[in-house]
């Protein structure tokens, strides 16, 4: 985009360049802003509909006004920070385990054809099971609620990380191994200097998918016994009929999910060396 703009600058002079700066600003901030405005408008309109229906007016606090007021209260009281930290800790731990298991296994099934053949059916089968379906088993198998939730998140994150990793390994140019061996690479050097950098952008793409799934799975998982976290907070707000707080937490979940995905996106492009994607 910016290259096109600067190209036009040379040919057409400063007038067009000013316009291209405006269009760049628009596409970077303008369009997303319009999208957010539309979302807010729909939300506000929905709130207005609910408020104007006598049967539903008890839920009027879902509207933007009360929600933002509740959000400010939540932030002021300091409860929100603790809630977010609990949830991020669980997602982080689940991701870490997903990474620690998914990357090596992904390398193995990407590199060793036999391992791929053996693992393919069982892994595709396990992958299609909703992580939440493991809930009863998780509750039986783990002593603490926290570890049960982390297990569910691992079951959600391990697959995307594993499959992206093996995809990345399969994309490695075999001649790189020859060249590296010829230049005297040891086994560990091969892993650290060649394989890891070669697959890192694919691994990060897998992590990005995993973060998305983990964040979605987290909230229902936190409906389980725990007394902290965003999922618990939603349940708690529902039980106390605090619909403004409930909506505020939904908002927080969306914002944090968006931020996590953005960070992952930055990491993906940071490690990306492929020219065409």
């Amino acid at each position: 985009m910016s290259q096109v703009a600067s190209g036009a600058e040379i040919v057409e002079g400063p007038r067009l360049s000013a316009r291209s700066v405006v269009s760049e600003f628009l596409s970077k901030y303008g369009y997303p802003l319009v999208g957010i405005m539309i979302l807010l408008a729909v939300w506000w309109f929905g709130g207005w509909l609910i408020a104007s229906d006598d049967d539903l007016s008890a839920f009027a606090d879902f509207a933007p006004g009360p929600t933002f007021a509740a959000l400010i209260d939540l932030i002021r009281s300091g409860d929100l920070t603790q809630t977010i930290i609990s949830s991020l800790f669980r997602v982080g731990a689940g991701l870490l385990w997903g990474f620690v298991i998914g990357v090596p296994v992904g390398i193995l099934i990407g590199y060793v054809l036999v391992a791929m053949r053996v693992a393919n059916v069982p892994f595709q089968f396990l992958r299609m099971i909703s992580p939440l379906a493991w809930m009863p088993i998780a509750v039986l198998a783990f002593e603490t609620w926290d570890s049960a939730i982390i297990f569910l998140i691992v079951m959600a994150t391990v697959w995307p990380i594993m499959f992206s990793t093996s995809h990345g390994v399969k994309r490695i140019d075999p001649s790189w191994f020859k060249v590296a061996k010829n230049l005297g690479a040891s086994g560990t050097q091969m892993v650290h200097q060649i394989i890891m950098p070669a697959i890192m952008s694919d691994v990060m793409a897998g992590v990005r998918l995993a973060v998305g799934v983990a964040w979605v799975v987290l909230v229902p998982a936190e409906y389980l016994g725990v007394t902290s976290g965003l999922g618990y907070a939603i349940n708690d707000a529902r039980d106390t009929l605090a619909y403004d707080t409930l909506a505020a937490i939904v908002l927080v979940i969306g914002v944090i999910g968006y931020l996590l995905d953005t960070v992952c996106g930055v990491l993906v492009s940071r490690f990306n060396w492929h020219q065409n994607d």
Binding site: V179, W273, Q275
Partner: protein, 268 residues
């Protein structure tokens, strides 16, 4: 001077039941000598080069470099391929310095050596560029610098110029031959381009297929640096063409350089 190669009765099959790819290859190359292996596509040239490099173990026979049997690859004898195979996440300089990094050289040593080599191949100003931003010829120059960084005594070249345009190829042929001569590096070049073989070597081995074997050996006694159209050049090219008339033509030879003399045009 080191880098003498002796290939002793090397034979190869990719499996017990597969056809015999190489049969009783016996070659000896003096340290600092430049030789070419020329033959039709599929006659086993790449296989032989991989065996010499230690990337592939021969089914029978052995290869000795400086009297020691080759059992595994080493940065003392480096191979270059048709594709430059640079590491795209590294800069040009990091690519060139990789072998030294593997060997545990210090940052200072690596910087000094890579500067010197990039100067030699004429790419000093590209040191910090991404290797993906280079042209095919420039990439192959970086691969050459990368192969030279570990100060090898032998360079094994598997058709490294065949994907390049005529001008780029011609310049690289002369540069590689000159560098090998200057540094006393033994060169084994695999090619199917007769001109390239005459241009770059002291001796040319002609290979035939089914099974892959050496059928002729022609000495190229032309002074360096060489010129394409000298009388001696023409004479040796004729000799090679005659040697080729004898080789079995089982499949059409892919001529990558459209119109120039290759092994194929000999039979046509």
């Amino acid at each position: 001077m080191s880098g003498s190669i002796s290939v002793d009765f090397v034979g190869h099959q990719f499996s017990e039941t597969a056809e015999i790819v190489l049969a009783d290859i016996k070659i000896s190359v003096k340290a600092g000598e430049l030789v070419s292996l020329i033959g039709r596509s599929g006659c086993g040239k790449s296989t032989l080069l991989h065996i010499i490099s230690g990337l592939l173990a021969p089914a029978s026979g052995c290869v000795r470099i400086d009297g020691k049997t080759v059992t595994k690859p080493s940065a003392k004898w480096n191979m270059m391929f048709q594709k430059a195979s640079l590491f795209p996440w590294m800069t040009v300089q990091e690519n060139v310095g990789l072998g030294l990094k593997f060997a545990g050289a210090s940052k200072g040593q690596i910087a000094q050596k890579t500067d010197e080599l990039l100067e030699l191949v004429g790419l000093k100003d590209k040191a910090q560029d991404s290797s993906q931003s280079l042209s095919g010829g420039q990439q192959q120059r970086v691969a050459l610098a990368r192969s030279l960084a570990t100060s090898p005594s032998v360079l094994l070249l598997d058709e490294p110029f065949s994907a390049l345009d005529t001008f780029t190829r011609s310049a690289l042929q002369q540069d590689v031959a000159a560098i090998c001569k200057q540094k006393g590096i033994t060169m084994v070049l695999v090619t199917h381009d007769i001109d390239e073989a005459v241009m770059m070597s002291d001796r040319v081995f002609v290979m035939d297929q089914n099974p892959g074997r050496i059928i002729d050996e022609i000495k190229v006694d032309i002074a360096w640096p060489r010129k394409h159209m000298s009388q001696n050049f023409q004479r040796i090219r004729e000799d090679l063409l005659t040697a080729f008339k004898g080789t079995e033509k089982t499949e059409s030879f892919r001529s990558l350089d459209g119109g120039r003399y290759t092994a194929d045009s000999s039979a046509a």
